[in-house]
């Protein structure tokens, strides 16, 4: 923590604002994408459950800009931010939430199954922890072909109590795989506080016990996440084997967009609101002398963009029902309507 704090200060002294304005822009993009989606869900346009990451944007925005497009990302049910940060098209994603033909997955997956292989995003996942072993396998393949691309696997604090956490991290260590594990620790496993369900000191200790260098950072401080991620990613890319990063953060919404989250009190939520990762980055940029108008511009542009995304997604075509029978399998794919 002290190490992080020091690094963060150092970073803030010589802030590279040209590199960070796009990060701010990305955070607004995530925030506004999800606010738009929540609003659209109220209107009945988003069809299934969505798990917003509002308040957690610094994790996605701190990690993914350090990745190449060819690096591979595996995410969770709460994956919009990661996916956007990896470079997926917001319009295609919104269309996916709306179940439309031109959605990222042709309307077949919805929020919990967004993937965009074109930008190295290998999928959200509806099963907690399942992305860990899949991510490990992707890293295994990268290593087999001597690529210096890496895999990143992001999961929640709840996932550290599932077996695949142990099996996957152990595997990554045994084969020295190029993979960064990120525990996006928002303190909750759905509606229950994770600490009441978790033995021992937590994710970092567990990762270390499995032989992985592990670090905890303030997950609402995008500069800190960025710095830690960069260090880790460089080391992994140079063949240093798997690493682990825990980012402590908080989700400002309920578990799903319709969860009123009555299991936590307003004071706690307000306290975290004061640590809003976007406001914090803006504060740092302000200190570094960045013009208020340029910052405002990031937000405004993102707002306009998402309005456009919303409108276009709303008007997009539904998938052809015949598509229900496509892409099941090559051998033994069922013929439409015949069963």
């Amino acid at each position: 923590m002290t190490q992080n704090a020091a690094r963060a200060e150092e970073t803030s002294a010589n802030l590279d604002s040209e590199r960070l304005l796009p990060v701010l822009s990305l955070m607004w993009k995530i925030r506004l994408f999800e606010e738009t989606a929540i609003e659209a869900q109220r209107e009945g346009l988003v069809l299934g459950a969505i798990h917003p990451s509002i308040g957690q944007e610094a994790v996605a925005a701190g990690i993914c800009p350090n990745l190449r497009q060819a690096d591979l990302l595996l995410s969770t049910h709460r994956g919009h931010g990661h996916t956007l940060a990896k470079g997926a098209d917001p319009l295609a994603m919104m269309m996916e939430l709306f179940g439309r033909a031109e959605g990222t997955c042709g309307g077949k997956g919805g929020s919990m199954h967004i993937a965009d292989f074109g930008v190295g995003m290998l999928g959200a996942n509806g099963v907690v922890g399942a992305n860990i072993t899949i991510g490990v396998g992707a890293a295994h393949a990268l290593k087999m072909r001597r690529s210096d691309d890496i895999a990143v696997c992001i999961f929640g604090d709840g996932a550290i109590n599932r077996g695949p956490f142990l099996e996957g991290l152990n595997w990554a260590r045994v084969y020295d795989l190029p993979v960064l594990f990120v525990c996006e620790d928002n303190g909750f496993s759905a509606t229950t506080r994770t600490r009441t369900l978790t033995g021992g000191p937590g994710a970092v200790a567990r990762a270390e016990s499995l032989g992985l260098p592990a670090e905890e950072v303030d997950g609402n401080d995008v500069l800190g996440v960025d710095a830690a991620a960069r260090t880790a990613i460089d080391a992994i890319r140079q063949g240093g084997g798997p690493r682990f990063l825990q980012c402590r953060t908080y989700r400002m919404t309920g578990h799903t967009a319709v969860d009123p989250a009555t299991y936590r009190d307003a004071a706690e939520v307000e306290e975290w609101r004061a640590h809003c990762p976007i406001a914090r980055l803006e504060g740092a940029l302000r200190l570094a002398g960045v013009d208020e108008a340029r910052m405002q511009q990031q937000r405004t542009e993102a707002e306009q963009y998402m309005q456009d995304v919303y409108a276009r997604a709303r008007d997009a075509e539904w998938p052809d029902p015949a598509q229900a029978f496509a892409d099941v399998q090559d051998i033994g794919n069922p013929a439409e309507r015949a069963y």
């Binding site: 069809l47 299934g48 459950a49 996916e96 179940g99 439309r100 959605g103 997955c105 309307g107 077949k108 997956g109 919805g110 919990m112 199954h113 996942n125 509806g126 099963v127 907690v128 922890g129 709840g158 996932a159 109590n161 599932r162 077996g163 496993s189 759905a190 509606t191 229950t192 009441t196 369900l197 978790t198 299991y263 539904w318 998938p319 052809d320 029902p321 598509q323 229900a324 029978f325 099941v328 033994g332 069922p334 013929a335 439409e336 309507r337 015949a338 069963y339």
Partner: protein, 333 residues
């Protein structure tokens, strides 16, 4: 009689059984908050957090711990949230719970109930919509129950909790809000007994879980056209009520199965095969199954709908079967 929802009926069943027998307890994720659908609302206040246990996201351990606790003279009710997540705990259910009594030569029993909500529900997509009752019906040692009404959810869940065998108890997510009359007094429904939900002379329509309702509505429509469909709600898939089904088909000469699950290797195949084996000469039309095509459940409604058995299909199938000369065109696969 009181009007109660399917969800409330399950809630009442658990509450009554926990009051009756202090060895009964429930474990699963977020139960203290009421469970993901509210099925456990308020129960932790009543019974404390040692009997309504909030668990880590550890499906394998939830199920495995229930097996160990069931062997140790308690009666756990396991909540798996979605039957899909129970796929993280199949060893514990199939290799352990189902086989322990037998492997150990009958030294003990494993009286656990695992609640595995099934079914298609509002764009839940491929990992939150499966109906895998056929899997568990195939496994020696397991009882499989799939209630369709509030009264049955009350009476079957109570019977399941009292049963000394491991029971896979599959509620349908789309029925939580479904309301119906429920007896106010103690109400038990025996495991293994089907209900003739509607009598009819022309076609026996065997179904279970949510498909009961579409089947009954369709039967009414068909009655208006002069075709009397007997609708049998199996309620329990293992053991299934062969006697009731066979007696019905013996009368009607026609069997149609309507299931929400994938038809290929679904439980409907067991019923259709059994009827064809047993009553071949009595059949006035070939047995017939309706079920989902062998495709995953998609998110977008136009695609999701392709998985559903529609009332039109039921009508078409029944009408087809009651025509004098049965169709001979082989279906594609």
């Amino acid at each position: 009689m009181a009007n109660t929802s399917y969800l409330e009926a399950g809630h009442r069943a658990l509450r009554e059984e926990m009051q009756r027998d202090e060895r009964v307890w429930a474990l699963g994720e977020d139960l203290g908050r009421g469970g993901v659908f509210g099925q456990y609302r308020g129960l932790q206040d009543t019974f404390g957090d040692e009997r309504i246990v909030d668990t880590p996201i550890s499906e394998a351990c939830i199920m495995g711990a229930a097996v160990g606790a069931a062997m140790t003279d308690t009666r756990p009710v396991v909540e798996m949230r979605f039957s899909d997540f129970a796929l993280c705990a199949v060893d514990e259910l199939v290799n352990q719970a189902a086989k322990a009594r037998f492997m150990f030569g009958g030294q003990m029993r494993v009286p656990l109930v695992v609640r595995e909500p099934i079914g298609i529900w509002r764009s839940s997509a491929a990992q939150h919509s499966q109906s895998l009752e056929a899997w568990y019906a195939h496994i020696p040692g397991l009882v499989v129950v799939a209630p369709s009404t509030p009264a049955d959810n009350l009476g079957l869940l109570k019977s399941a909790i009292r049963c000394d065998d491991p029971v896979v108890y599959m509620e349908h997510k789309n029925l939580w809000g479904f309301e119906g009359e429920v007896p106010e007094d103690e109400h038990l429904v025996p495991l293994g007994k089907a209900e003739i939900a509607r009598a009819g002379r022309d076609v026996t329509l065997v179904t279970w879980s949510a498909m009961r309702h579409a089947s009954l509505e369709t039967a009414e429509e068909l009655a208006a056209r002069g075709i009397e469909v007997e609708v049998i709600d199996l309620r329990t898939l293992w053991p299934w009520d062969r006697d009731t089904v066979l007696a019905s088909v013996e009368r009607t000469g026609r069997l149609l199965v309507a299931q929400e699950a994938v038809s290929v290797a679904g439980f409907g195949a067991e019923i259709a095969a059994t009827v064809a084996e047993t009553l071949h000469d009595r059949l006035e039309a070939p047995v017939r199954r309706l079920g989902a095509p062998r495709i995953p459940v998609a998110y977008a409604p136009p695609l999701e709908d392709r998985v559903r058995v529609s009332k039109d299909e039921i009508v078409e199938a029944v009408v087809g079967m009651t025509r004098t000369s049965p169709s001979r065109v082989p279906a594609g696969q």
